[in-house]
Symmetry: C2
Subunit: 348 residues, 2 copies
């Protein structure tokens, strides 16, 4: 028998940000696929769609009219999963049926007045305006005394539950810290308490030396496929400097964050020659007023596609009952994405 | 402001089996849906399909020929995510890039020679034969000294990544305990150590009194929508008696388990008038030789559909970055499912 080989043998990998394991089956990429085929996203060609409730000047379902905006536009979600008019309260029977009232605010952020541009198509200078809105929303919502976490995210593409191709993201701000950032808080703070450095600083140092999973970098950010990535082409944007949230970035870092956002979204679109679906989100310090010296700002991209524009990875039976499983190794994925960014000047 | 009301106000609910919270937004079921529509599963009408690699007498992709089986048929997955020829080994850099070799066995279980029948269509006596196979596989695989967990599951429907309508499930047996059962182990054993009773015994006692989330029951099993359910029509089958795994069921319990399996799968098919997609899986004691006095046998059903045969719940941006979110309350879902089982004699 040969020696154990990460590129060949089934194995588990550990995610130090969450404390969870995933199953990697490198050999399984070869199996034939006879299952569901996804629809190829139709390219959007009109810069303004009179039927779109996000385009400027159009009416939304609550009767409001969108302003004649020129770069970004933010409004409160007409069908938010969270709202402010929730009385305090809870429910608890035998300690086993526990519920707690949750207050919050859900907003929609239009990235551009152009109906036909995604982040991947936009100029870096215009993405920079989106970064500024993310800062403003994190600051304004995080300052509210009942808001303890501000989740900024984007669902791109019909495959990711997005119902409108007009480029937009969301912010859900709420009175408790959700499960994922709470888990990352525990892991990062424990690491920092023990080592005096942030977990992602130490991790990034290894990756920048090894380079196998690095997709691109600029002066202030690195883009990589994490060693423990779950989705086939999952990536993470990590700041080179250790800071906890988007308000702690200086001007150069804001520009560099816009730049790396362009790099990854454009590389994704190249991968299968379609507007690439994904969910992305920023993880950063809770806004509950506590100190988080270990928190290290980062952004996740979770794209569902596996082999082509029409074959996605299904996170189903085993994944839901056991733990996530992937077929292609993070190293192979990183190599493929890296090959797609070589023509951009930001690459290393 | 009115008092806090679970049927009306956004809130979080706690899952005592995993220690995780979910967000419930009861009011959000009203939002219009303009997003992706799923394809309606085509009914399968041929009892034997010459192209199907699971039908009897047909050839599989590895060249083997299926036997002329009459009830169930089990074989090792030709493209298993796990296999036995993995050398011992691992990888660890700075404690942050950790990997471990994983050995295992993946099997496919054909539920019936009939290509056109799902568990929902099968006779209870034939489902009982499937229960017997689940017992045999758990016993045989669990007895191997390198196997520490045996995950039995089914992916039903193209929407859940199933590529062949021939009724079948899978077993993935492996050398470590996956994340979800590991989490349930911690929670159940801690509860048992503290209370001297299993978590699910106490939970079931509350539910059987309250009845709001009970969908059906027979002498030995209850079927309910858990208080903390994530998927719109998620259900759980819980044994009334506290035991840890499928080998500890007596004859009457085996029959009753087959019966409740028929009840839930048939009710699902009634819900939107289609062969209802889901992933299901049995959670039970690890097979690592340790004692698990707190483990309580149960089976989860996670169906993706939300409003109709064509509109599913997307677990995307917020759900992946924060925590799961649902729009319809578990109580409403349970009521709708309960109404569909009233004609079966097994109901209470
Ligand atoms: O083995 P299958 O049925 O081909 O594959 C299906 O179930 C597996 C276990 O949940 C998943 O890993 C795959 O993504 C899914 O397509
Ligand atoms: O608010 P939207 O974009 O209509 O909804 C989408 O994103 C939400 C947040 O991830 C999800 O809860 C929904 O299932 C999805 O369809």
């Amino acid at each position: 028998m040969n020696a154990f080989d990460l590129t060949e043998h089934p194995h588990r990998r550990y995610n130090p940000l969450t404390g969870e394991w995933i199953l990697v089956s490198p050999h399984r990429a070869k199996r034939p696929w006879q299952g569901q085929q996804e629809a190829i996203p139709r390219p959007v060609s009109v810069p303004h769609d009179p039927e779109c409730y996000l385009c400027r000047g159009n009416e939304r379902s609550n009767g409001a009219t969108n302003p004649d905006y020129t770069d970004t536009f933010v409004f409160e979600n007409d069908f938010g999963a969270l709202n402010q008019s929730v009385p305090e309260g809870g429910f608890g029977e035998g300690g086993l049926l526990l519920a707690e009232a949750e207050r919050g605010i859900c907003k929609v952020i239009c990235f551009s007045p152009r109906h036909d541009l995604t982040l991947a198509d936009m100029e870096v200078a215009d993405i920079r305006k989106v970064v500024d809105v993310w800062r403003e929303e994190y600051a304004a919502l995080g300052a509210l005394d009942f808001i303890r976490y501000v989740q900024i995210f984007e669902n791109k593409g019909a495959m990711m539950g997005c119902s409108n191709p007009h480029p937009h993201g969301q912010v859900w701000a709420q009175s408790s810290v959700p499960v994922e950032p709470a888990r990352e808080t525990v892991m990062q703070e424990a690491y920092f308490a023990k080592n005096g450095r942030s977990l992602l600083s130490d991790y990034l140092e290894i990756e920048l030396k090894d380079r196998k999973r690095i997709v691109a970098e600029n002066e202030h950010f690195a883009l990589l496929v994490p060693f423990w990535a779950v989705w086939p082409f999952e990536t993470m944007v990590v700041s080179k400097r250790h800071f906890g949230n988007i308000l702690q970035m200086d001007e150069a870092e804001c520009d560099a964050f816009a730049d790396i956002t362009k790099t990854i979204t454009a590389a994704y679109d190249q991968l299968f020659g379609i507007s690439f679906p994904y969910s992305s989100g920023i993880h950063q310090t809770p806004t509950d007023g506590k100190e988080y010296p270990g928190w290290h700002f980062h952004m996740h991209y979770y794209p569902p596609l596996l082999r082509s524009a029409t074959v996605k990875k299904f996170m189903v039976g085993y994944e839901l009952m056991g733990n996530p499983q992937r077929d292609i190794t993070p190293e192979v994925s990183a190599g493929r994405l890296r090959a797609l960014v070589v023509n951009r000047e930001v690459v290393f």
